[in-house]
């Protein structure tokens, strides 16, 4: 059971959380593979220097090389931490009253957008590409009553299920709520 008090700012007491989403794990994994490449570069360089430039493995060059390696490892650790934080803090919440999209653009850039269900006009699920098709993840676009505004859930798991859930929640809204949004149109 999620801690509903701390999920997002402005949450109502009687608001029921229906779904809490993060981007699909493959999104994190692809970034992790890119991170791994940097680790492989270092290990590869270490091996290549030992084989082709053994002079760099002797004093006094060895001390410089060891210092560089240690600093490189520190930045690798920082890189992995940031990749994970960006993934962990990117979150989408669907409640029985609205959808909330919390996007962590960078460490100091956080966007919280919310949309009341009554303002939804159209919901589209998009699965595009080989990996998304096999692993069932993709984008969910929510078109709002406003002319150009479009909500996007980026690379979330089971987009079709999410699309259906949002439409079902819209259908469950009281008639006067739906009527209000129709009048606004």
């Amino acid at each position: 059971m999620p801690n509903i008090k701390s999920l997002f700012p402005g949450q109502q007491e009687n608001e029921k959380i229906c779904m809490v989403l993060r981007p699909h794990w493959m999104v994190f994994f692809l970034k992790f593979v890119a991170w791994l490449m940097f680790l492989v570069i270092l290990l590869g360089a270490d091996w290549a220097i030992g084989k082709y430039l053994p002079i760099l493995k002797t004093e006094p060059y060895l001390d410089y090389f060891n210092l560089f390696k240690t600093i490189y490892f520190m930045f690798l650790a920082l890189g992995l931490l940031i990749i994970w934080i960006m993934y962990y803090l990117d979150i989408q919440i669907i409640t029985d009253q609205r959808v909330v999209d919390i996007t962590q653009g960078s460490l100091l850039h956080r966007t919280i957008s919310e949309l009341h269900l009554s303002r939804i006009e159209d919901v589209t699920a998009e699965v595009n590409g080989l990996l998304p098709t096999f692993l069932d993840y993709g984008n969910v676009y929510i078109q709002t009553a406003a002319e150009t505004e479009r909500f996007t859930f980026d690379r979330v798991p089971s987009p079709a299920r999410i699309e259906k859930m949002i439409l079902d929640l819209y259908e469950q809204l009281p008639d006067h709520e739906k009527l209000k949004s129709d009048l606004e149109k």
């Binding site: 001390d63 210092l67 650790a77 931490l81 962990y88 803090l89 460490l107 956080r110």
Partner: protein, 74 residues
């Protein structure tokens, strides 16, 4: 315990200044990352565990880096 760093030449001093500037940048960015994690993370216990693990790891690497810096002779 690493010995206190004592630059004994201008080359050593320049290297030490560059090293500690890089470390300051690293520390600043690390603190920003941990601040964002602890402020916005939903699962406090998980965030604290990750932060402690990261601090232990980087403290060890920093210690190794200072040791390697001290080994450099001009």
């Amino acid at each position: 315990m690493n010995p206190v760093y004592q630059p004994n030449s201008i080359g050593h001093s320049i290297l030490a200044v560059i090293f500690y500037l890089v470390m300051a940048g690293f520390m600043l960015y690390s603190m920003l990352a941990l601040y964002a994690l602890l402020k916005y993370g939903r699962n406090t216990i998980l965030c604290i565990i990750v932060a402690i693990f990261y601090l232990i790891l980087t403290a060890s690497l920093y210690s190794a880096a200072v040791f390697n810096l001290n080994l450099i002779k001009f």
